[in-house]
């Protein structure tokens, strides 16, 4: 079922964003993150991890103890801490009367690229010191590595008794979390959805080593210049950690409590390439974008900003640009940008973070750029690509956010300023 056209939807089926909580490598709240995106502040720095050695990463420096006891942080996971911080920030930002709302009517839907690698690697590393005698294997391993861990830690921390789970969707997960939250609100499974994505991926050497073996791990003598989607000199991905969680509500509920509304989720789509484990398929990506547009009842030229997924790999960027040219090639007023050029690839958080970076344009009327484009790859040329400097475009009406992942998962969301 295609649950549209959205113009006919009652307020009980319209889903709006009423709070944003995040931590990015260049900002620990929405305002600071946006400020960094408008002032070319990178969040990428030198980083060292076992076995791989010196590399680069987007590292967050949020205050773990702001919302979590030392003991809970120790017992839990980094993804859990990222989630707890982001969720608390989102709820605070939303102005919800948190003490008095029914926690059994709050749902938690958190996108993750992967989960459990960090703890498993750490345990095996420790176990090596005990000659692989498994009596030294931690009893914390299972609660830390179950796939719902990051969402469950949020529930424990905030006393939420509604549904909680993660959505495993590779690097499309941030959008997927948001979409899941919206769907559950429409199904009346909850009244408030905490939805988005988190990543702890910089703490697993396996991610770095695998990208390196694939020839897809970025290197540059200046860490801030390493993540450079669309540039001819791009040479791979900078892995980042981060989190971004939205408070979603039905429009009728948001209106009733007089909430500030930061945008309405008017269209979304998830589809699958079904062609390759790693290599994206531009035809399927374009189909995903078109499906989201159709569900939103929009023509391509009505989109003001396209937030790209591009990660800085040789072929991946070209594939996405091919897809975008297919859909937006004739759209002269559609601007295109990329946030990974600032922070690297925040994996499960990427889609949600990148959307937040652009939603602020509803307020300030500026399209943030993609940075580090010294020489544009002709194969990545798009008419509206905003490079290196922010551009005043007037308050946009629609932002379209791409987020794609391995095994050919594509996700698109469209947010309207209302």
């Amino acid at each position: 079922m295609i649950a549209m056209p959205r113009q006919n939807l009652p307020d009980s089926q319209r889903i709006v964003i009423t709070g944003v909580g995040l931590t990015a490598p260049n900002g620990n709240n929405w305002t600071d993150f946006r400020d960094s995106l408008l002032n070319a502040r990178s969040g990428v720095s030198k980083y060292e991890i076992r076995y791989v050695g010196e590399t680069l990463a987007g590292i967050c420096d949020f205050d773990v103890k702001r919302y979590q006891s030392k003991k809970d942080a120790r017992r839990g996971t980094r993804a859990g801490s990222v989630g707890v911080y982001s969720a608390n920030e989102a709820v605070m930002h939303s102005g919800l009367d948190w003490e008095n709302i029914d926690k059994s009517r709050v749902g938690i839907y958190i996108g993750v690229t992967e989960h459990g690698n960090v703890e498993t690697e750490n345990e095996i590393y420790e176990l090596k010191g005990f000659d692989y005698d498994t009596q030294f294997w931690s009893h914390h391993h299972n609660p830390r590595t179950v796939a719902n861990n990051p969402a469950g830690e949020i529930a424990l921390n905030m006393g939420i008794t509604g549904p909680h789970y993660t959505i495993g969707a590779a690097c499309a997960a941030g959008n997927a979390g948001l979409i899941q939250g919206a769907q559950m609100l429409r199904l009346d499974d909850c009244d408030v959805a905490l939805a988005g994505g988190v990543s702890e991926s910089i703490h697993t050497f396996g991610i770095f080593a695998s990208f390196k073996s694939q020839g897809a791990l970025a290197t540059h003598e200046d860490p801030t210049r390493a993540s450079r989607p669309f540039d001819v000199q791009r040479n791979g991905i900078v892995v980042a950690e981060g989190g971004c969680i939205y408070v979603l509500e039905r429009l009728e509920d948001a209106k009733r409590r007089g909430a500030t509304i930061y945008g309405e989720l008017v269209g979304y789509a998830i589809n699958t390439d079904a062609t390759d484990f790693v290599l994206p398929n531009p035809e399927r990506q374009a189909e995903c974008v078109r499906l989201a547009l159709r569900r939103a009842g929009l023509a391509a030229e009505q989109i003001d900003i396209v937030s790209t997924h591009a990660t800085g790999t040789g072929l991946g960027d070209i594939q996405e640009c091919t897809a975008l040219r297919n859909v937006f090639g004739q759209c002269e007023q559609t601007y295109v940008n990329n946030a990974k050029s600032f922070i690297g690839h925040a994996m499960g958080a990427a889609g949600a973070l990148e959307l937040a970076g652009n939603l602020a344009s509803f307020d300030d009327g500026v399209c943030h750029p993609t940075i580090n484009v010294d020489e544009l790859d002709p194969e990545c040329s798009l008419p509206g690509l905003v490079m290196n400097q922010p551009r005043e475009i007037g308050k946009p009406k629609y932002v379209l956010n791409n987020s794609f992942g391995m095994l050919g998962i594509n996700s698109v969301v469209i947010i309207e300023r209302i």
């Binding site: 030392k70 003991k71 120790r74 931690s138």
Partner: protein, 86 residues
């Protein structure tokens, strides 16, 4: 290790597994659970740390011996008396 050394070692372990707690006022004769926010996973941490740091095995049927600092030190003294203080 003397009983005093063992007590210090348990305090070190507790500092790691209960980092939010003030251990300065810990009463040795009162159960840990009555003074600290410790659950079953935390007690398993004490058992695991003794195993990791000192190769001391506490069988499950003896977990009750770790109820308070006093009972823990009493229980561990014969098991750790021949160990060197780190």
């Amino acid at each position: 290790m003397s009983p005093a050394d063992i007590r210090d070692e348990i305090l070190n372990i507790l500092e790691d597994i209960a980092p939010d707690e003030d251990l300065g006022d810990l009463k040795d004769e009162v159960a840990f659970r009555e003074q600290l926010e410790l659950d079953s996973m935390d007690f398993l941490d004490i058992v695991m740390e003794l195993r990791k740091r000192h190769r001391v095995q506490v069988p499950e049927e003896d977990y009750g011996q770790l109820a308070s600092m006093q009972s823990t030190v009493t229980y561990l003294t014969p098991l750790m008396k021949d160990l060197q203080k780190a």
